[in-house]
Assembly symmetry: C2
């Protein structure tokens, strides 16, 4: 088995609020796994990155692949206008393989160059386009989940499926997607307003039969919540509209946003091990609000970060870390001073081990964790203070600036991406 | 007189909420001024930038030059801890010309490469270091105001002046700084808690005698406001502590932050033509809150944007534009839904003509305005949708991404910077 080590300044987060650092240390890697951290030079081959940061790669728990083409556009629109005027018309263009290949090509290139190792991604309603995206991500050496989106109601005629068609296409998608090694399928009801109860029921059955995880949206904004209450008058809360159909933790599940969870929903999230994908940039851009992330941490609810492209306006998960810190400070000041703000190390934990646990043992430098690693030549951006800073401080400085071109090496499950 | 034109896709803002665009147009420039915009090819020499954006350069109404060395560091600290543990110790190191030159060299390089044309900047309490900074900015061809900071109380012994010394050094600074052409001095009491009333009085006298503008901080956070009330029990509000001494619009003035202005202060800002430097990034990082910018616009209070390095964590004024939009949306959602959020074009106006008016006629493509111009090769970052987008849409897309390396040309007062 192939073993080697990165030599550099190691920093990682094993728990919220606490970074660990080993300056001038060695990260030992065997095939796809972390073997451990050493302060002594090991006997295996060493890849020299002295003076550079060696950190875990980051995880993006929620983004919309087809929306990357307009990430940072039309931000003045409210959610519903944005969906109708831009999102649905453009997503429908991915039916054309030429458009789909060009647009997804650019996304795959940019994720490859970024700090993101693994992700959970929405495609479009088109199975073939989504499979092509998965193939491109697989070729790039990346890992994660990609879903064919399901929508059979409250969507324009040109971008909506019949219920039977949505389920049949999802089955076909799951069959075809099983051939990839590192990029895996995920069941993806867009959100309750877009999915009839028959569709949700069918998707829940598929998730259970095929043992496939689930991703969707939950409690993003107040009018959406009212709408769900109207559509499902039997439900005690939004979460129940997924839970009733086996889409809420019966298999691993990620729910994006979770800004307005009530106490029962919070309890259910914890009990069923459902992940929050916290998307601070999107929640500001779409005027949704700010999720109570400190409460999730206190309750032990699994939480990771999300770029939520293109509600979010940046693909960078380093940017998501600082957005999460800033949003939590504004929440503390403007909404609820009983929940303290996130520290930098809290947010860095969320972007690494916090979200990484959705993918198994990932996001830390503990023994047996996936070898998802970044080497950052942060001395290139050197402040005059650089020589005086600790690796932890340099990580914070880099994270607020995060130029992708300083990434000198990137491993995903031990595979060399950069 | 030398006249030439930029050929490209012109976009600028003449008023809040409304962009103007001339696709495939010509921006005519004579020496340091805009001559006008034409859809027809002019007879003067044309610099070809077909397919690129041609836009006004941006203005940064408030930043701390010595803090750029740690922009994006120690963001977990609260304001007072941050000042004592990091800001004051590091600012005091600028007494050493070697340190000062290296640190300011990096700032000047990065501003030169950025979209910022003009600025109003705090230096340190050291006149010589501040003069050296001004000389470097002047050599780089940039424009704006730089102040020697005044502090004679509530500061550590190693970074505090005697009152007489602070005033004498300010006079010496003003004398020496009058030799620069485009970089000009500005009176800079750090803020009321750092300045005795004798010092404020002396500075007000100097501002009036020398006809020099003023910059300071106002109503940034609630405990700061309480502190000012304690220190100046005679004052009706924080603004009066400057106004009483001729530091509040008797000469042109910029006040950073202005989050918690009361009605009387709002009225005084308008009446005296005092500028707000709105600093959304800093106001989140330091957990201050969100300024009611829509109210400033409705009342006709002069307002520009600020990076507020290093309370703010980015030097980019494009980033400040999108931060202002996001913050205003969160304010609408979380604080006060009676004030609508800023649109992209509102915020772009603030970063150009809004703040630019502090420097004269600056920030627009109207005839007689300063030739402060950026050419952006935004096709380099091309989304698959790029060919379908209007110049206005491309400006928004670029602004959310803002890679400095796409800036193909930059003029400040007609001087070629890039």
């Amino acid at each position: 088995m192939a073993t080697f080590a990165f030599h550099g300044d190691l920093v990682w987060a094993e728990s919220p609020g606490r970074l660990r650092q080993v300056p001038d240390g060695y990260l030992l890697i065997q095939d796809n796994l972390i073997l451990g951290v050493s302060e002594e030079r090991p006997s295996c081959p060493v890849e020299e990155h002295q003076g550079s940061l060696v950190i875990p790669a980051l995880y993006d728990l929620h983004l919309h692949a087809p929306q990357y083409a307009y990430c940072g556009l039309w931000m003045d629109e409210e959610l519903l206008g944005w969906l109708e005027k831009h999102t649905f018309p453009i997503e429908s263009r991915y039916k054309d393989p030429g458009f789909s290949d060009r647009a997804y090509g650019s996304l795959v290139d940019d994720i490859t160059r970024s700090g993101t190792a693994r992700f959970s991604m929405f495609g479009t309603i088109y199975a073939d386009s989504t499979l092509a995206l998965m193939a491109a991500l697989e070729r790039a050496g990346l890992s994660g989940y990609v879903g064919k989106v399901n929508m059979d109601r409250n969507s324009p005629d040109y971008y909506r499926e019949e219920t039977w068609e949505s389920l049949a296409e999802t089955e076909r998608f799951l069959d075809a997607a099983s051939s990839f090694g590192h990029v895996m399928p995920i069941i993806t009801p867009r959100f309750t307003p877009s999915c009839s109860e028959s569709l949700l029921e069918g998707l829940g059955r598929l998730a259970k039969e095929r043992k496939v995880p689930v991703q969707s949206h939950l409690d993003e904004n107040l009018s959406e919540i009212d709408w769900v209450r109207e559509l499902c008058p039997w439900s005690r809360h939004y979460a129940e509209t997924y839970e009733r159909y086996g889409l809420f933790g019966d298999t691993p599940a990620i729910m994006a946003h979770c800004i307005y969870l009530d106490d029962e929903e919070l309890g259910l999230m914890r009990e069923k091990g459902v992940y929050v994908a916290h998307a601070p940039s999107s929640n500001a851009n779409v005027s949704s609000g700010i999720a109570p992330v400190r409460k999730f941490l206190e309750m032990g609810i699994s939480t990771g970060l999300s770029s939520d492209v293109a509600g979010g306006s940046s693909l960078s998960m380093f940017r998501a870390v600082t957005d999460a810190v800033q949003a939590s400070k504004l929440r503390w000041r403007c909404v609820d001073s009983s929940l303290s703000a996130l520290s930098f190390s809290d947010a860095f934990f969320l972007a690494t081990k916090g979200g990484g646990s959705f993918f198994g043992n990932a996001g830390s430098f503990e023994k047996g964790y996936e070898a998802d690693v970044l080497v950052i030549d942060d001395w290139k951006g050197g402040s005059v203070l650089h020589p005086e800073l600790t690796p932890e401080e340099r990580l914070e400085y880099y994270t607020y600036r995060h130029p992708d071109e300083f990434i000198a090496a990137k491993l995903v499950g031990g595979r060399r991406i950069i």
